[in-house]
Symmetry: C2
Subunit: 320 residues, 2 copies
């Protein structure tokens, strides 16, 4: 935490939605507030918006308490799919009372939208997100006033599904999924994350979504730090680390896509609006000018290889 938290503001970010898939997972209001205190101690200039891990132990009462404590969301992980998701969801219908309470108290449901792989149904990492979409529609129809964010979307079909839903359904897009396709994932462990990057057509759909300036689509970094030896090994951990250069990556990408004018909305306005948060008053300042991404963050201890390590970006953070 002491190594990674300072990377957030270095990357031009002053607000973060904090995921609950720690070890142990954040399953109670107390744990979330304690985690928030620890984060604030390390960098008090960043706002940390907290979430709870959706498990069978979460009650409508806890949702009410969470809302009172300014916890803003509940994250659902399909069981076994991503880092520390062993406790995740197998069947959404059992959560109806929790979703109803979230609807009442204004908490947002953040969804890792993949179903588990399954040979019989031909489901694997390439189509696990597509097969999740009926569940998204199902929850949205049952709880139309529940705000839902489909996190780190990676497919054309997911983008279309989110567009088709009402205003209460949004989606996040990561910096790395705007750049990667499956070709750059196989054999390249630093690009391996869940959901994995898909076909060129899917990446184009993500790019088109940000180019369009549709406020349903906003930034979610899904940044995950793993030590180099947990990536460059026989079974790599899933996750791409983007925190330290998040805004430069995005500016570099948006500039190349010819939509720099959409960056402010995507990174700072649409998400805040979706979450009913005031606009940020103090922003980071980006300047044009090359910056080289280091080969490693914290080379003497944690040894995290950042996204696009060793590459040169055309934008850097002047102040944040």
């Amino acid at each position: 935490m002491r190594v990674i938290v300072p990377q957030v503001r270095r990357g031009g970010i002053k607000r973060a939605l904090i995921m609950p898939n720690t070890v142990p997972p954040i399953t109670t209001v107390e744990m979330a507030l304690d985690y928030q205190r620890q984060l604030t101690e390390i960098d008090p200039e960043v706002e940390y918006f907290m979430t709870l891990y959706l498990t069978a132990d979460l009650t409508p009462e806890m949702v009410e308490q969470a809302a009172a404590a300014n916890i803003i969301g509940v994250k659902s992980y399909p069981a076994g799919l991503t880092t520390n998701s062993e406790l995740g969801v197998k069947d959404y219908d059992i959560f109806d009372p929790v979703f109803a309470a979230m609807e009442t108290h204004g908490l947002v449901l953040e969804v890792h939208g993949e179903v588990p792989s399954n040979d019989e149904d031909n489901i694997c990492v390439m189509n696990a997100e597509r097969h999740f979409l009926p569940r998204l529609h199902h929850i949205h129809e049952k709880f139309p006033n529940l705000k839902i964010v489909l996190e780190h979307t990676t497919t054309f079909e997911a983008i279309e599904a989110v567009k088709q839903c009402g205003d209460n359904v949004g989606a996040t897009i990561t910096a790395h999924h705007l750049e990667l396709t499956i070709d750059k994932v196989v054999g390249q462990p630093h690009h391996f994350c869940k959901p994995i990057a898909k076909y060129p057509r899917d990446r184009q759909a993500l790019r088109d979504a940000v180019i369009s300036g549709n406020p349903k689509f906003f930034l979610g970094s899904d940044s995950a730090p793993h030590p180099r030896d947990k990536k460059e090994c026989s079974h790599a951990c899933a996750g791409v680390f983007t925190s330290g250069y998040l805004m430069p990556y995005l500016a570099d990408t948006f500039d190349r896509l010819g939509c720099l004018d959409k960056l402010e909305g995507f990174a700072t306005i649409y998400g805040a609006a979706f979450y009913n948060k005031p606009r940020q008053t103090v922003m980071c300042k980006l300047v044009k000018g090359p910056i080289k991404v280091p080969e490693m963050i914290d080379p003497d201890a944690m040894k995290v290889v950042p996204f696009r390590a060793g590459e040169t970006l055309q934008w850097s953070v002047a102040e944040c």
Copy 2:
């Protein structure tokens, strides 16, 4: 070569089709014969069937010489797609005179059946084989008497395409593609090869092909040794190493699939028949009984991690 060649017979194999994508590539009859001599010196009990690399420098005269020298095939690699394929093919039509000579002299065309990735056409490693299939049909229609092997097939569509072609078109299937899907490739560099393993449905099509006992489908190991540090790194080399345990892997898989009775045909008969070679008289003997695949081949020097390293197989080679 001194480390890897002895692995061939250890894996229960006494006949091998030698690929020409060495550095430098095998582009002349002389090089092929010299390579064959070096291989024979290391293990004279294995038959090495030689191939030439299809390049623009290959002439019909060289094809005739090759046939006279018992070189049995020409391998085509689409440019830039796999290990040492920089010299590969961009447009097949320029090879018409060479293909005609191969048809006349009975050389087999071995094809790495993938087209290069291309964002505009949504082509990536997941569909590069499928997009190649029209080219297979094109060559087969133009040269119906040319024997063609679609190497290391990985998709349902490729299996169907080969079935639809005449008897002069066959296909190889590797030991590893009978086991892997894309889920076991992402983040697992020892499973990364080209073409990559695809969807569960594709793996099932490969399994169904071997279960069917259709003689169009036979073993091709596509075994490729890379040192561990070229696999467990940021950009892994493509290739799975199966030589040392090839027959045990296959027996283990076929046993699990309930088609052990199809193993002999798949591994020793159908391929020989396709190539007009006599049946093998001395075979390897497999016995039921567990064997553990080592974590590493040649741990003191080359450090190659074999397929299914550390796993236990239910069959082993008693003699070969």
